[in-house]
């Protein structure tokens, strides 16, 4: 089942299924390795609806709330 990255539970791993939004934000995400088919793990999110921090290819990337809403993921069973 697809969920928004924003709503994925902390510590959960997931596969990126779809990235919505305009070309420029897609491009920015892809350049950091956030792309369809990639497995990520959610590390947590910043305070007051802050950015979502994910681990991808052993790098941590902070993704602002606006973008994290547009990244759709499927949670992997643990």
């Amino acid at each position: 089942m697809e969920t928004k990255l924003l709503e994925l539970g902390t510590g959960k791993a997931a596969v990126i299924k779809r990235i919505e939004g305009g070309y420029s934000s897609q491009r920015r995400l892809t350049s950091l390795g956030i792309r369809v088919g990639q497995t990520i793990r959610k590390v947590g999110s910043g305070p007051f609806n802050g950015p979502v921090v994910v681990e991808v290819d052993r790098t941590k990337v902070a993704i602002g709330k606006g973008m994290a809403m547009k990244v759709l993921v499927e949670e992997l069973p643990t």
Partner: protein
């Protein structure tokens, strides 16, 4: 021959550049340190080549000004040294393939080899070399390991045509990574847990508050200590008396002697202001900044502040230009090249020119206020921060467009290395001594001339409606408005000898803070944003400085 150092942000290109050329350039542990290219010469045996340190880029399809500069550079190079982060092979190879498509001869430096080993990442270098078709050399830029081999293999650089669509590119990368990389799985280390603590809300907020307090405390403490206990006694007892004696003995009483050692004496204030007053705070600030930069905390701070910053129309990443602006406004302005939109850059730069004091001005403000009242100092900073927040919100409403989302790689923590911190502090110090100090001396000279010739009296009369009636300052304070055009801190130091009341001190400090940043900022503004913007900023800073100072003056007279 021109050799370009290209690669993703924060992979060690600038450290490598310093190693290859012997020229110190700033390297810090966050993406987007280098925002302009820097040239140097590599001499090695018979090989002599020009080396260019290029801003980091994730792709050749630029997403900000710094990346645009990188992409433009590609056409100019004869050879590319593609620096890649061995711990993040997959993401880094994307740019490698894009560079291969450019058909430019290439060598790959597989940097951060030490961290890769440490993190259990093993890479089959020969296999990678075979698959990419260009030389690959493991390096550790910070220690110099592998750099000789890298240079020796530059002549073997080859161009290797690769062509593919976006999807093909990624599957090719997947192929390569599968064949060359082995991961030893490691459990979450203590370090990683500490790293994450700075981003998670429950621990991140206390960490940020403690970091801010420690940083402020350290700057003020170290700066004051240096000034009160070392520099001031040194100049007051060892330097100034002999100068005074010598001048008094040689130069007859009159105009010239006054210029040299009188009020605004070039040999007294011209030396004392830049070296005993500003220098200690500049040193302290850059020391603390260098440590913060090298640990890797700044991107985490950016993450913490993102939601708050969004209210002012910029994302959390803007905290880095802001912090650099506390050092030097020009450095801060250039650093906004890491932001994605012109709108964000304009907001950050406007706020910075108005209400962020550079390190030199901070030193002057502390000297002016802290000795009278620490509360007054805190008050001035409070006003500045409130202003930034409120005007930021207003600009966010006024300017068309939206704020892009925050998106930033969070680097691992690294322990700041003493020599690289010292080198960085020295670089800033050197540019202060060479570029700023002569200007400060020049400013003092102008002040002395105006004062001794009596011109200041007439300027005081002319500016009376503003300086005296609006701001409630003595007429002589008008010298501050003239010197303030030259440099930010001069607007403050000019008030030092005036025997002001506490209210006047606060008003004076506020006006100086909001007033024109400094003469050297204007050409930078023109170059980055155009003449119109520079003129608007210059006008706005003057008007807002008077409005803020006037309002404070009225408020104080009404309520005190």
């Amino acid at each position: 021959m021109k050799i370009l150092l290209m690669g993703n942000p924060n992979v060690g290109k600038s450290v490598l550049f310093s190693r290859l050329t012997g020229i110190n350039v700033v390297a810090s542990n966050y993406p987007g340190t280098t925002v302009t290219f820097r040239k140097g010469t590599l001499k090695f045996g018979s090989l002599s080549a020009q080396i260019i340190d290029v801003p980091g880029a994730y792709t050749l399809d630029p997403t900000n000004k710094a990346e645009e500069i990188a992409v433009e550079m590609v056409k100019e190079g004869d050879v590319v040294i593609n620096v890649i982060d061995a711990t993040h092979l997959e993401r880094n190879l994307r740019l490698t393939l894009e560079l291969l498509e450019q058909e430019i001869p290439m060598v790959v430096a597989l940097n951060l080899w030490d961290e890769a080993k440490h993190k259990g990442v093993t890479i089959d270098v020969e296999k990678l070399e075979e698959l990419l078709g260009v030389p690959v050399v493991p390096t550790v830029a910070v220690t110099g390991e592998g750099i000789k081999e890298l240079v020796l293999r530059i002549p073997e650089s080859r161009s290797q045509l690769y062509q593919g669509t976006e999807d093909e590119r990624w599957s090719e990368i997947g192929n390569i990574v599968r064949q060359v990389q082995t991961l030893t799985h490691r459990h979450h280390t203590l370090r990683e847990r500490i790293e994450d603590a700075a981003i998670l809300p429950s621990t991140g907020i206390p960490v940020a508050i403690i970091a801010a307090l420690v940083a402020f405390g350290a700057v003020i403490g170290i700066g004051m200590g240096l000034r009160q206990f070392i520099l001031l006694p040194f100049f007051e007892t060892l330097i100034f008396p002999p100068i005074r004696d010598a001048v008094t003995a040689v130069v007859p009483e009159g105009f010239i002697r006054e210029i040299l050692i009188g009020h605004f004496g070039v040999l007294i204030d011209g030396i004392g202001w830049p070296l005993a007053l500003v220098l200690p705070y500049l040193l302290a600030f850059y020391l603390v900044l260098a440590i913060l930069e090298d640990t890797g905390y700044l991107p985490r701070l950016a993450c913490m502040l993102d939601t708050l910053f969004h209210k002012s129309g910029v994302h959390g990443g803007a905290v880095i230009p802001f912090l650099l602006g506390f050092g030097c406004t020009i450095g801060g302005i250039l650093s906004t090249r890491m932001l994605e939109t012109r709108r964000e850059r304009i907001i950050v730069v406007a706020l910075m020119c108005l209400a962020i004091p550079c390190a030199a001005q901070t030193g002057a403000i502390i000297a002016l206020l802290a000795e009278k009242s620490i509360a007054a100092l805190a008050f001035v900073y409070l006003i500045a921060f409130l202003f930034i927040f409120i005007v930021g919100m207003a600009l966010n409403r006024m300017l068309p467009g939206t704020t892009p989302s925050f998106l930033m790689e969070i680097p691992p923590y690294r322990i700041p290395n003493a020599t690289s911190v010292a080198k960085k502090v020295w670089m800033h110090l050197k540019s202060y001594l060479l570029d700023a100090v002569p200007l400060i001396i020049f400013g003092v000279f102008i002040a002395a001339m105006l004062y001794e010739s009596g011109a200041l009296y007439h300027i005081g009369l002319f500016l009376r409606p503003i300086v005296v009636d609006l701001l409630g300052l003595p007429a002589e304070a008008s010298v501050s408005l003239i010197l303030g055009i030259v440099r930010r801190e001069l607007a403050v130091t000019a008030l030092l000898g005036l025997d002001l009341t506490l209210v006047q001190l606060i008003v004076g400090a506020i006006v100086a803070l909001f007033y024109i940043p400094c003469a050297a900022v204007l050409p930078v503004l023109m170059k980055e944003f155009g003449v119109r913007y520079a003129v608007v900023i210059a006008m706005a800073t003057i008007v807002i400085a008077f409005i803020m100072g006037g309002m404070l003056n009225v408020a104080f007279t009404l309520f005190l």
